[in-house]
C-alpha cells in the first residue's frame, strides 16, 4: 500500500503494510486534537541580587569589552539575553495519533508540553487542545489532558494509593471508584499489590514512574502528554509502559504526544515524529519517511537515530566549530599578552 505524506511542503512516498500503525492511524485520524500555531516562548535569565549595583560599578571602572584574536575590542556576549525555548513552532496532531517529539536536551520539548498543559503561557502564537485554548479556557483543557513528566513527582511519604486518590479527586472522581481503578491500573503496569500501600520513597525509580503513568491514566484523558515517560526504566518496564501507550491509542483512541530520547521507542510507537533543535522544528514526518532524509550506509536504510544525528549532529558540528574558533582566539590573545609581559619584566635573580 502506498501512502502519500505531505509535510512542510515536501511529498514523500511511504510504503506501509496492512495492519501497521500507519494504516491504523490513517483509519482513525480525521479530527485535529492538538494544533500548535507559530508558538514562541522565551525565558529571561534570572538576575543576581544587587545586579544593578554591580553594573553601576562596572560602568564607572572599565568598559564592558574584551580583546579578540587580533587584539581589537569586541563586546562580551550578553549573558542576560533571553533563552528562546520554543521558536515559532507549528504542527497539528490528529485525534488518536501517537505523535513523537524528538530533540536533544534543551531543545524545547518539555517547554512545549508545559505550554499545552497550561503550566506556561506562550509569548506568541496559539495552541488549541480539542478546539480549546489553554490560555483562554484552561479549566476545559485541564479536564481533557493529563501529563507524565520525566521526574515522577509525588508526595514521597505518601503511598501510591494516597497519592493517586489525591490526584483523582482533583479530577472529580470519588473514593470508591478510585481505589478499584488504582489497583487495576497499577497491577496492569506490573506493580505488586503490596507496594500500593507503602510510601513512595521506598520504591525504585522505575516503580515510581509506573505510578506516575497510572496517575495520568486515572482521569481518562483524551490527550495524554508524555514527557520522556520511560527514561530510567529497565527494558521490561519500558516495554510494559509502551504496551499501555499502544493500548490507550487502540482501545480509547487517546491522542498521545510523546517526547523521548529513545529513537527505537519513537520508531515503534509513533505515527509521526517531529524533531526539535534549539526550539525550532527541523523535521516532521512518519518515522519511515524521516529515514529517507539521512544517507544510506552500506546500502542499508538508516535508522531514526541516524536521521536524528544527521539532522541535529550537523548543527552541533557547526556550533562546536564556532566554539573551537573562539577558544583558539582566546589562547592567541593570552599568548600575546604573556609575550608582552615577558618583554617588560626583568629576569628573576638566581638563588644559588
Amino acid at each position: 500500500m502506498k501512502k502519500s505524506n505531505k509535510q512542510n511542503g515536501t511529498t514523500k512516498k511511504v510504503t506501509t503494510q496492512p495492519g501497521t500503525k500507519v494504516e491504523r492511524s490513517v483509519k482513525k485520524m480525521d479530527k485535529n486534537a492538538i494544533v500548535v500555531n507559530q508558538v514562541y516562548k522565551k525565558f529571561s535569565k534570572p538576575k543576581a541580587a544587587f545586579t544593578w549595583l554591580i553594573e553601576l560599578f562596572k560602568k564607572n571602572t572599565k568598559d564592558d569589552a574584551s580583546l579578540n584574536g587580533n587584539g581589537a575590542k569586541e563586546p562580551k556576549e550578553d549573558r542576560k539575553a533571553p533563552t528562546v525555548a520554543v521558536d515559532r513552532v507549528s504542527f497539528t496532531v490528529k485525534e488518536g495519533e501517537i505523535f513523537g517529539v524528538l530533540g536533544p536536551n534543551g531543545s524545547g520539548k518539555s517547554t512545549l508540553i508545559r505550554l499545552m498543559a497550561t503550566l506556561l503561557l506562550p509569548d506568541d502564537g496559539s495552541i488549541t487542545i480539542m478546539g480549546h485554548d489553554p490560555v483562554k479556557d484552561p479549566i476545559t483543557v485541564q479536564q481533557l489532558i493529563n501529563r507524565v513528566s520525566v521526574e515522577a513527582s509525588f508526595f514521597k511519604k505518601l503511598s501510591p494509593m494516597e497519592n493517586l486518590i489525591y490526584g483523582a479527586r482533583l479530577y472529580g472522581m470519588n473514593g470508591k471508584e478510585i481505589r478499584k481503578r488504582v489497583v487495576d491500573i497499577l497491577t496492569r503496569l506490573g506493580l505488586e499489590k503490596r507496594n500500593i500501600f507503602n510510601p513512595m520513597e521506598e520504591m525504585s525509580r522505575g516503580m515510581q514512574q509506573k505510578v506516575a503513568i497510572a496517575r495520568a491514566l486515572l482521569s481518562r484523558p483524551r490527550v495524554l502528554l508524555l514527557d520522556e515517560p520511560t527514561t530510567g526504566l529497565d527494558p521490561v518496564s519500558k516495554r510494559e509502559v509502551q504496551a499501555v501507550v499502544r493500548e490507550l491509542q487502540e482501545q480509547d483512541n487517546t491522542t498521545i504526544l510523546l517526547t523521548t530520547h529513545d529513537m527505537n521507542e519513537a520508531e515503534i510507537l509513533c505515527d509521526r515524529v517531529a524533531i526539535l533543535h534549539k526550539g525550532k522544528l527541523i523535521a516532521l514526518d512518519t518515522p519511515e519517511a524521516l529515514k529517507q532524509l539521512a544517507p544510506r550506509s552500506n546500502g542499508h536504510l538508516p535508522s531514526l537515530e541516524d536521521v536524528f544525528i544527521h539532522l541535529t549532529g550537523d548543527k552541533l558540528k557547526e556550533e562546536q566549530k564556532e566554539d573551537l574558533e573562539a577558544a583558539q582566539a582566546l589562547v592567541k590573545a593570552f599568548a600575546k599578552e604573556n609575550e608582552a609581559k615577558e618583554k617588560t619584566t626583568a629576569p628573576a635573580p638566581e638563588l644559588n
Binding site: 503550566l119 479549566i139 505518601l158 494516597e162 479527586r169
Partner: protein, 276 residues
C-alpha cells in the same frame, strides 16, 4: 457530575491529602507539638516570674498575668498555624515536586484555597486544644467566670481575616522560589510585634500602635481576652467581631485576586517548576 459535587471532591482532596501528610510525618508533628507546649509554658511562666522578680506579690496579680499570657500564646499559636498551612500551599508542593500536577488539575484556585483553609482551621483548633490542655495541667487557671463560647466565636471570626492575609502572603513563594518562604516569616514577625500578643498595644510607640489598629490579630486578642478574663457576653464582643469580619470580607477575595495575578506571572516566567 455537577460542578458543585466536583468542587467538594476537589476541596476534600486537599483536606485528605494534608491529613495523610500529618499522619505520615507524625514524628515532625510530635516535635512541633512539644516545641509549642514548651514555648507556651515558657512565656506564661513570665507571669509568675514577675511576682518573684519585683517582690511585689501584693501589687501584681500573678494568676491574671499568667492567664493573660496563656491567652496570648494560644491565640497566636492558632492564628500562626492557619497562616503557615495556607502560606505553605506552594512551598510544600514545590519541595515535594508536585506543584505542576496540582496547578494543572481542573480546579478553581478558590476551591484549592478553600480545601487548604478548612484543613488549616480544623488542624489549628485541634493543635491549639492540645496545647491548652497541657497548659491547664501545669497552671491552675481560673476560668470560672470566663465566656468560653464567646472566645471561640471571636477566634473563628478572626480566622477569616487571617485567611485573607495568608492567601496574600502565599504568593511570595510563588514569585520568589528561592527566598519566598523566608519572606513570609517577616510578615508574621511584624504582626506579632504590633498586635499585642504578650502586652497591650498601648505600650508600643505611636507608629507601631497605628499598625496594630490594622492588624486583625489585635481585635481577636482583645476580644478573646475580654471573653475569658472578664467574662464579657458574646453580644458585647461585637465591637471586636465586626472589624475582623470586614477585614475578612475584603482580604479573602483580594487575596484570591492577587494570587491569580501571581500565578499568571509565574506561568509567564516559568517559575512553577523551579525548586526553591
Amino acid at each position: 457530575m455537577t460542578t458543585s459535587i466536583q468542587n467538594i471532591q476537589a476541596m476534600y482532596a486537599f483536606i485528605e491529602r494534608n491529613a495523610n501528610l500529618v499522619k505520615r510525618y507524625w514524628g515532625w508533628e510530635l516535635v512541633w507539638m512539644i516545641y509549642s507546649i514548651a514555648n507556651s509554658l515558657s512565656v506564661s511562666f513570665i507571669g509568675l516570674g514577675m511576682e518573684a522578680l519585683t517582690g511585689q506579690e501584693a501589687a501584681i496579680d500573678g494568676s491574671f498575668l499568667v492567664l493573660y499570657l496563656v491567652i496570648g500564646t494560644l491565640v497566636w499559636r492558632y492564628l500562626t498555624t492557619i497562616f503557615y498551612w495556607i502560606t505553605e500551599v506552594i512551598s510544600i508542593e514545590r519541595w515535594e515536586g508536585t506543584i505542576e500536577y496540582t496547578l494543572m488539575a481542573p480546579i478553581r484556585r478558590g476551591v484549592h484555597m478553600a480545601g487548604q483553609t478548612i484543613f488549616a482551621t480544623v488542624y489549628g483548633l485541634i493543635f491549639t486544644g492540645v496545647v491548652l490542655i497541657a497548659t491547664t495541667l501545669i497552671f491552675d487557671l481560673d476560668l470560672s467566670t470566663a465566656n468560653i463560647g464567646g472566645g471561640i466565636v471571636m477566634l473563628i471570626a478572626g480566622s477569616l481575616s487571617f485567611i485573607g492575609i495568608s492567601i496574600m502572603v502565599s504568593i511570595l513563594p510563588l514569585l520568589f522560589p528561592e527566598r519566598g518562604e523566608q519572606m513570609t516569616h517577616i510578615v508574621i514577625a511584624i504582626l506579632l510585634l504590633v498586635s499585642g500578643v504578650y502586652y497591650p498595644i498601648e505600650v508600643l510607640p505611636n507608629i507601631l500602635q497605628k499598625l496594630g489598629v490594622v492588624s486583625p490579630a489585635t481585635y481577636v486578642l482583645n476580644g478573646v481576652r475580654e471573653a475569658l478574663l472578664d467574662g464579657t457576653a458574646t453580644v458585647h464582643l461585637w465591637q471586636y467581631i465586626w472589624p475582623v469580619l470586614i477585614m475578612g470580607v475584603i482580604l479573602i477575595p483580594a487575596g484570591l485576586w492577587v494570587f491569580s495575578l501571581a500565578e499568571r506571572y509565574a506561568k509567564r516566567n516559568g517559575k512553577l517548576a523551579r525548586n526553591g
